[in-house]
């Protein structure tokens, strides 16, 4: 396994009233694999990956039974050793590329900073490599863009720069956190295409964090669905769409326009994700689940194996999308 996470939890706040943003997440990503992490905003998908990269600051606390990357234990690693991996072997791009670039430095300077930090490339060699990277992410007129400031770039162009920075050291794993959400629809497709082609040419693993199952359907090999800080279902891509095992996944699918063809209106789940003060004691989906029964409130369900998939439900859905009797 390239990335191996077991029982990862992230807690914010302190004292008597802590808030668990992520609890008990297990996730394995193999080399060269594309994994989609899907969930509503606030479901903990970004926090999970930030925690894996070691980017959660106090007062946030991260705990895990196991957290390793390419066989190396990230938990026991010294900060210095970890920093050598972060940004080089694991890299990350974010939702709002324009605000993710430092407004005070040129594109070139920010690219070359990564090269200097991890590959000790400086001066003309760094400049040449930066140029090459910008060309790889298909930025037109790359040479002049090196001297451009972030505010002079469009959103799509900024995201390409972010991607160039992320692939600068040929990472084994690229985490893309909602990489297209802030972009125009036409640009979204281009960026996704670029990410997938880079994933192939660089043979890297890609974790795609998104709230949009449709994006995942097109590119991912495997999907993990998160709800209220937990993984509620993981499954290979074709199966998730054909036979969702968890009611929440089913509801997510129903809210994609193409999947509910013929329906007069989109199906949506009533209610909202439970927050800090209204967390149910049993299954977290109980207040919103169409199939909920008394047993669901009694105990918090574990992930159970259903064919190729794992679902956190005491009565996983069958192939017809109905709860098992």
């Amino acid at each position: 396994m390239l990335l191996d996470i077991k029982n990862l939890s992230v807690t914010f706040g302190s004292g008597r009233d802590p808030f668990r943003a992520v609890s008990g997440v297990d996730l394995q990503v193999a080399a060269g694999e594309i994994v989609g992490i899907v969930g509503e905003s606030g479901s903990g998908k970004s926090v999970t990956m930030l925690a894996a990269m070691g980017l959660i600051d106090a007062p946030g606390r991260v705990t895990a039974d196991h957290l390793s990357f390419a066989g190396r234990d990230l938990l026991s690693m010294k900060p210095r050793e970890k920093r050598a991996i972060v940004g080089a072997e694991i890299s990350m791009i974010f939702q709002d590329a324009q605000s993710s670039l430092n407004p005070a430095y040129t594109v070139g300077a920010q690219l070359m900073e990564t090269l200097a930090e991890h590959q000790n490339l400086k001066g003309a060699a760094a400049r040449a490599r930066a140029l090459e990277l910008l060309e790889q992410v298909e930025i037109p007129d790359a040479r002049s863009r090196l001297a451009a400031y972030p505010h002079q770039l469009s959103g799509g162009m900024s995201q390409r720069v972010m991607i160039a920075m992320a692939i600068a050291c040929n990472p084994k794993l690229l985490i893309a956190d909602e990489p297209t959400t802030a972009l125009d629809v036409t640009v979204q497709a281009q960026i996704m295409e670029l990410l997938v082609s880079l994933q192939r040419s660089h043979d890297m693993a890609l974790i795609l964090i998104t709230h949009d199952l449709a994006v995942v359907a097109e590119v991912a090999h495997r999907v993990a669905v998160m709800y209220a800080g937990e993984i509620v279902e993981t499954a290979p891509v074709p199966q998730v769409f054909a036979t969702p095992r968890h009611p929440y996944t089913q509801a997510l699918l129903a809210s994609i326009p193409e999947h509910s063809k013929g329906a007069s209106r989109l199906n949506t789940l009533p209610g909202v994700v439970p927050g800090r003060y209204d967390r149910p004691s049993g299954c977290l989906l109980v207040p919103r689940c169409p199939y909920a029964e008394d047993a669901c409130s009694r105990a918090h369900p574990e992930l159970v194996l259903v064919g190729d998939a794992q679902a956190r439900c005491i009565k996983p859905l069958d192939d017809q999308g109905r709860p098992q009797p």
């Binding site: 927050g275 800090r276 003060y277």
Partner: protein, 301 residues
């Protein structure tokens, strides 16, 4: 996000604005302590002749430069000691509070009232009158406050009244700018338009519609203005341009104390410490008021 899930459907209990303000203000411990200190100082100033143990200008020829009571040579007759002319320092400080607070109150009022009026005029007539007013204020702001005050006193001559006038003039631009800026924002709001449509005259619009909604930052500015008035007045007194001896003004007391640095530390320390504590208290109160009155102005913390 709601913090309670109590289903009780009682009528919401809206605290009065004053109670709400006090709730916000009293959470700031520094500001509350500062308020207590200032109240104490006001009481001391108000009842100075009854509280002060001695007459502030009475010279005890037998007790020149007596150190404070807690030192070996001190006596409880003069708690904070006496100055070079044998005057009781504590009594002078208490009477000095009268002068300093009086300077503060008068100069704040004398700059706030015309400042607010000019600011409102600049906001209501932004084209010609507003431009002229703001240009004038820019020119006044080009000189730092103390230097402008020094220049004004240089023209008018030293003295208590001229000190107050100079400080009032110096503080004017900050009120004008602040009032204009907040009035301009308020003028674009719907309630002002509604009031206008209802036929409210300009004066009514200025003072009873717009002004009350600009008061929060003005009150904060007045508090901070109060502290800089006290500081500037003391500085002028120290330079010999403010209140003249034998008036027990804090800055004037310090000016006289300069010659006794080497042998009477208390003569130097006491008046300055009083100034520092007063100014610090007012600044703490200003911070507290700002946080309690206007969340928009709140600093990140």
């Amino acid at each position: 996000m709601s913090e309670t899930t109590t289903p009780a459907l009682t009528a919401p209990d809206f605290p009065s604005p004053l109670a709400e303000f006090w709730h916000g203000f009293s959470r700031n411990r520094g500001a509350t302590v500062a308020l207590g200190f200032m109240l104490l100082l006001f009481v001391a100033a108000l009842f100075a002749p009854w509280i002060a143990p001695h007459n502030p200008i009475e010279q005890y020829r037998d007790a020149l430069l007596v150190p404070p009571a807690w030192t070996t040579d001190g006596s409880w007759r003069f708690i904070l000691g006496t100055d070079e002319l044998g005057r009781d320092i504590l009594s002078r400080l208490i009477h000095g509070a009268r002068i300093s607070l009086w300077i503060g109150v008068v100069s704040v009022l004398c700059s706030m009232i015309p400042g607010v009026v000019l600011g409102l005029l600049a906001a209501f007539y932004p084209d010609r009158l507003g431009t002229v007013i703001m240009r004038l204020m820019d020119i006044m702001m080009a000189l730092p406050s103390l230097l402008l005050a020094v220049a004004i006193v240089a023209v008018l001559g030293p003295g208590l009244a001229n000190t107050m006038l100079a400080i009032a003039i110096v503080a004017l631009p900050s009120y004008v700018r602040l009032t204009r800026a907040s009035a301009m924002t308020e003028l674009t709001r719907d309630y002002v338009v509604a009031s206008r449509l209802a036929g409210a005259g300009t004066l009514r619009l200025m003072f009873s519609t717009v002004l009350p909604n600009c008061m929060a930052p003005i009150i904060v500015q007045a508090t901070l203005g109060f502290s800089s008035a006290i500081l500037d007045a003391a500085a002028l007194g120290f330079l010999g341009l403010g209140a003249q001896p034998p008036l027990p003004e804090w800055g004037t007391m310090l000016a006289a104390a300069r010659d006794y640095i080497e042998r009477a530390w208390w003569v130097v320390t006491m008046p300055g410490l009083t100034i520092l504590l007063t100014v610090l208290a007012l600044n703490l109160m200003g911070d507290g008021l700002r946080d309690a009155l206007d969340p928009r102005l709140k600093q990140h913390d």
